[in-house]
Symmetry: D2
């Protein structure tokens, strides 16, 4: 079947490949014309030989996605479906869906997990939208998802897919931080002489075994003391939104928030807050401050 | 080969079975004589037909373990080895080892993970002790551990095994709390209509896939809203020790600590701290308090 | 001088009184006509005998404030000034200011602290706006603020006042929680026999002395074990906004966030997250769950 | 009245002065003989002209205090009283008291707050011990404490004084961190142009007014951007013990723990934990790491 795919970067490029391997016809567009199949969104829409058309948007969240959806609203027709597979905030979905609905165009949001391993293992898909719109995209979901019973859910109406993916990433932050704190404690205590070996021993038969643990073991095999990596960690939006949504719903999320704050701290050369604490200690106790 | 095993409860009983399936001769003792092979520690020690003797202690941490080790010190001989496979605090290990060393008896500490699944899948083992003492226990470690390259580490000298297991459990607290907070957020937002389905979709192809996630999916299949479970969570020592060791080594562990505190809170009918906050709000703002 | 004051509740009523004691003429309006000086906003605006008119809005944040500002935009004239002294989110200020600016009406936001003690001690004021608009309100700020050098700041342009007040409240959450956790620990340890006495001893000569401490001592004198207060704590917006702004600016705020989450937890009969943790422990360890 | 005082450093020296101003005779000993009144503990004990003798120990916690108490046990007699006014862990108190009790010597523990301001304002005192032993020290407590009803509590039996002081310091950590996080947020948002002015405005009429706030305002007047202070903060024991005692009593202390962990982080050039998180992100997402 035919699908349009906008955005052929690290994720989109591999998804095109996985869709093609499954026998689908992918009409790919990217700002980088060297990797694109067509030269514009107009060409992309015109290249379809059948309808309804399904166009999958895989561009950065925020303005790029919003602008692309708007442009597709000009080009597509009643009954077509747009899928936003990017990392959009779920609150954008309703806006996009309402905009397209004015012309009878359907909208489906899809949270996509899998990273650079997705081409081989399949992409886990969390999907939001009406049953009829989701049905139009289903053949492509089947091609992208991992084999077997797992890796796909129709989570609810428009927005549910990105919401589920957002929570997935929030949990991811928390899990990574849990492993990381444990790792640091192992390295801090002299009694444990083989830290990479301890983590490796956990890969089977333990409560903490996971894919993330496997990756940490890999990283330590390449660089046993992580000497080549700085403790500087970016965050990409979903972690922040998770905390904000938790606040909206009065859900206590101490672990997820602590994980986000640890990333913020990791990026500070010096901490204004800790300057203030040092200043206070100096004021009341005459404690020396370090400059 | 022959091994003595003291403590035949949920863990010890299954370990006896797994050792026997591997062809070892297990001399089991338990306070509950109905499940024991011998009637006393003296009988256990006398039942060995060869030496050195290896005796594995699998009783509750604290006094029961300490008392058992002391009694074994009276009964065993130079060259024998005692293994503490219970959940002892690693600081007990040096004391036990020094006590036994006076009579030339070796000591090995083994952190054991696997729970009720260990009989089938094997027990992950984190081991501390001298190379020569560990070597005497090695055949039994081989029988207990999962198949393949994983599930076993000789982490360092005496204490390293229990330290590694302690950190394992600390991480476990953090991971469970991360999933739990994400789960609660999913249930709090109306947009996600199929929460169990979302968690199930994560089991393949995602960053958060793990054995713990599989278990949570199982639990939700049995009880989709967890209606039959109260949010009351005990803790068993390792989580506390992890935080205390982190403090000893000045390692920041916000996620692991938050996970422990969440358990403490879960067990309180009312919170004295929050009473104090409510009292303060009433004092300065005239905010109504709830009784 | 003349000032209009809209909203004569717990805060506004006392502010009217304090302004009058300072010799100002206050034209007060409230939905509750029994306590109002005029029957409508139109009457309020018409009651002024001089210009420019200053109208202080002291109604609940959100729609009530936004609607009142809009209505004043219809009634006031070029050169008049509206002050929002309520607990509005600072992001509303720019919107309100721009709306009024179309008609040449000025806008000033004022964060007001002091609660039920303000009538006697004065209200601390954090103010945002252009120098010329702030100047028009200055006589009233002087009347409302505490005596002396303190209790007033022109923090910056429109929005700065509410932003500063928001942070004030965020800090308040953290301080209260710090006292509360310490209080609970004192009550938990048998060795301290006179908990109210300990807190009272801290009121002079210590690092933790503060007005909040004084209030906690008061509360404990009235009810030494806080038996009459439930540990159920509401939150009113500023605490949430503080965390959200911290996230916007990538500022790590573990203490402020923990304080907010403790309030969320205090309001839960049971915790879905801790249900999930209990379910997990049951799955892997056969730990009993409580129902 | 006569009192022996051992340790004449920053705290002890000022306490000698405050006791003398109140008319007491202080026999001071210090390792630094230039500031001492006597040359040895033996001389100190012999210098008393009446009995029972009260000797106040004001040396660093841990071995120095334990050794001094032991030595005093050799020199003092039945009915004398030793006061430990240092920052000892409360668990040491029972040990010291039992040791001295063998010779009929009394023991009182006194948590002392006040820092470099104590000479002028008085020292807040939290005292543990038997009523009869406390009574023997009472005249000196009266001289050291601030004037008025506050600044002194007999909190309970031996250990209660240091326990109360420990909790005081734990709360202090939390309060300082609350102010510090709020301060950082104020500096991060462009809308607030006068951060020191905002903090100054809070000194009267607000909920967050306190002595610590006054000190922070002082610090900002000397150095408005805290340019001369590094965000590097030590901790001195009580903060750690507070968390450990909270864990012992299953008291959730998220704010106090977060404050301690922020200090740990402030002292790290790079974070092993965040290296691990960066390594994980690189493994699963191909995210660049910073070196």
């Amino acid at each position: 079947m035919e699908i349009g795919l906008i955005g052929l970067g690290k994720m989109g490029g591999n998804m095109r490949e996985r869709l093609r391997r499954a026998g689908h016809t992918v009409i790919g567009y990217d700002r980088n014309h060297e990797i694109a199949d067509v030269g514009s969104l107009t060409e992309l829409v015109d290249a379809f030989t059948s309808s309804p058309r399904v166009v999958w948007v895989m561009v950065p969240a925020g303005d790029p996605t919003r602008d692309t959806v708007k442009e597709l609203g000009e080009l597509l027709s009643d009954g077509d479906v747009v899928v936003d597979g990017g990392n959009s905030r779920f609150t954008d979905d309703k806006i996009n869906a309402d905009h397209l609905a004015e012309k009878g165009i359907g909208y489906v949001d899809a949270g996509v997990s899998g990273g650079i391993w997705g081409l081989k293992n399949g992409y886990a898909l969390m999907v939001g939208g009406s049953p009829e719109n989701v049905a139009k995209v289903q053949p492509f979901f089947e091609a992208l998802k991992p084999e077997g019973d797992y890796g796909y859910v129709h989570a609810g109406p428009v927005g549910a897919g990105h919401f589920a993916k957002m929570v997935h990433n929030g949990i991811e932050y928390g899990m990574m931080q849990a492993y990381a704190e444990g790792y640091e404690l192992l390295t801090a205590a002299a009694v444990v002489e083989d830290v990479p070996g301890v983590l490796k021993s956990w890969q089977e038969g333990t409560v903490v075994r996971s894919w993330l643990l496997d990756l940490l073991v890999n990283a330590l095999q390449e660089d046993p003391n992580l000497d080549d990596i700085k403790g500087y960690v970016n965050d990409s939006g979903e972690g922040r939104w998770t905390i904000e949504e938790a606040i909206n719903h009065a859900v206590p999320v101490p672990v997820l928030a602590a994980s986000l704050f640890a990333r913020f701290s990791s990026r500070q050369d010096d901490s204004p807050a800790m300057k203030a604490v040092a200043a206070l200690r100096n004021q009341f106790g005459g404690h020396a401050t370090t400059k």
